[in-house]
């Protein structure tokens, strides 16, 4: 059986979730890898979300937020950027490949970009193979 990666996406309510929605209503095709979790702001992302997910054996984590300057809450996504940077370094330090963890900006009108991102991410995960932590 071929390896089908599983990834979790944390998408912000105002831009990226709407972007994902647009990809859906426009009937764009993208691989069924991702499970989307809606957060009110990408600033809600907490390092623990990623650590817990990897601990339980997820293959990748994608954090999506509004473009810098477009945040509904003014600076939530800038805080995300800082947290994500730290999370990535920690993941690398404990031995998880940092390519499994990404932060991207997707606005509400970028349905195509969302579909493209998911496809790209899925390909990266397929290359990397299953998460070694998975039992």
């Amino acid at each position: 059986m071929t390896f089908e990666p599983k990834a979790v996406v944390f998408a912000c309510n105002w831009c990226s979730y709407a972007g994902a929605d647009l990809a859906g209503v426009s009937r764009m095709q993208y691989p069924p890898t991702v499970r989307i979790v809606r957060t009110m702001c990408s600033g809600r992302f907490d390092p623990e979300f990623a650590f817990r997910a990897f601990e339980k054996g997820i293959d990748g984590v994608l954090v999506l937020g509004c473009h810098p300057g477009d945040c509904h809450y003014r600076e939530g996504n800038l805080k995300t950027e800082k947290k994500v940077e730290m999370t990535r370094k920690l993941l690398e330090a404990v031995g998880v490949d940092p390519r499994r963890f990404r932060l991207e900006w997707v606005s509400a009108s970028e349905g195509g970009r969302f579909a493209k991102l998911v496809e790209e991410f899925t390909n990266t995960l397929k290359e990397l193979g299953p998460n070694p932590v998975r039992r």
């Binding site: 390092p47 817990r52 601990e55 370094k89 920690l90 690398e92 330090a93 404990v94 031995g95 932590v133």
Partner: protein, 372 residues
């Protein structure tokens, strides 16, 4: 009603005659009036260990060991607290930064190997075939989390430890398989994690003749807990203990400063290493002035195992800083990376008065005075 909970207690607990010297000396009891170590021992003795577990008083304890030091009957109070935590709610406690520290759980898997060598500075010399291993501990992780925010020295501690070993003519090995020693999880009652990392660590640790640590907590865990629990025979030494034998090879560069030394609980009271760091510091030209509470009476930094970082424990940290300021020293030297983080965190707090003293790691202080 028969109580289901039971606490494994040290052999001397029944000797307790309730003199309450433990409650009198306890730094936590001074800031939290309801917390009494004596009461914990009493409840266990009269057959109600569940009161200790359910009341949560075992989580209030700092496990600094000051009570055991003063106890006339050698009652193992810290050991009692530790087993109460392990029998109670599994890993339930108020851990500071617990969201960020969730990454430790990934380490429990034997499929991932943390890479440590890449964090080291370029000028340090390591040798994979050496029979001396430097056990780095959590310094790379703390470097990532705390370096910017609290001005923590970070990987500088690990680099300086290796620089000191190099100066003594030793090129230590650094293992890529190294995991967390599990100290915090052991003391928080998360035995599951501790056993997993300990087994993985022991696989390679036994290949080395000597293991040198710069962290007092790693030192205590490897030297006592690993050896007791798993029957390993590791020869573990703290960097100060190890360097004392090579003291002649370290040449001071004539730097002078007035310093005070903070005895962290794991290094001082638990492992009884008091003289070696002081001997090294004075050999390198530092003038040591002692705090009012020093050596076995030293005050805890306030947040061991990241448990209970709250207002009450902040008061303990304030007291510690006041002690250090009263000595008139320019630098407070601490051997423990965590003590440094907690105390520097208080220093940068804007609502606090200005604590005008530099906090420096023990190894950094030695390297700064080293002529190279």
């Amino acid at each position: 009603m028969e109580s289901k909970a039971s606490i494994l207690v040290g052999e001397y607990i029944s000797r307790c005659y309730q003199c309450a010297i433990c409650s009198g000396i306890c730094p936590k009891a001074r800031v939290k009036p309801g917390f009494l170590p004596r009461r914990m021992v009493f409840n266990t003795l009269i057959g109600h260990p569940e009161r200790v577990i359910n009341s949560g008083s075992s989580w209030d304890c700092l496990t600094c060991g000051l009570c055991e030091e003063k106890c006339p009957m050698n009652v193992g109070i810290v050991e009692l607290v530790k087993s109460a935590r392990q029998t109670g709610l599994d890993g339930f406690c108020n851990v500071a930064h617990s969201n960020t520290f969730a990454f430790y759980n990934i380490m429990a898997s034997d499929k991932v190997n943390p890479k440590r060598k890449k964090f080291l500075a370029k000028d340090v010399e390591i040798d994979d075939n050496s029979d001396v291993l430097y056990f780095m501990g959590c310094i790379p992780y703390f470097d990532i989390i705390f370096k910017e925010d609290v001005n923590f020295e970070g990987m500088g501690i690990a680099d300086n430890t290796i620089r000191l070993l190099n100066a003594a003519g030793i090129r230590p090995a650094v293992s890529e398989k190294e995991k967390c020693c599990g100290h915090d999880q052991l003391w928080r009652g998360q035995l599951n994690f501790f056993n997993k990392v300990a087994e993985q660590n022991l696989e390679y640790l036994q290949n080395y003749k000597t293991i040198v640590t710069s962290c007092p907590e790693c030192y205590r865990t490897l030297a006592v807990d690993y050896n007791e629990k798993f029957g390993a025979e590791l020869n573990v030494k703290h960097i100060s203990e190890y360097l004392v034998e090579y003291v002649d090879k370290l040449k001071p560069n004539g730097k002078k400063a007035k310093v005070t030394f903070h005895d962290s609980c794991r290094l001082g009271r638990f492992m009884e290493v008091y003289d070696q760091p002081r001997e090294l510091l004075s050999k390198m030209g530092y003038e040591i002035v002692e705090m009012q509470n020093n050596r076995e009476n030293a005050l805890c930094c306030g947040v061991p195992q990241w448990v209970n970082c709250d207002d009450e424990n902040k008061e303990i940290r304030r007291k510690k800083m006041k002690d250090a300021l009263e000595t008139g020293a320019e630098i407070m030297i601490t051997p423990c990376a965590k003590c440094q983080i907690h105390l520097k965190c208080l220093q940068r707090d804007k609502s606090e008065p200005d604590y005008n003293i530099e906090i420096m790691d023990f190894t950094t202080a030695l390297v700064k005075a080293l002529s190279r």
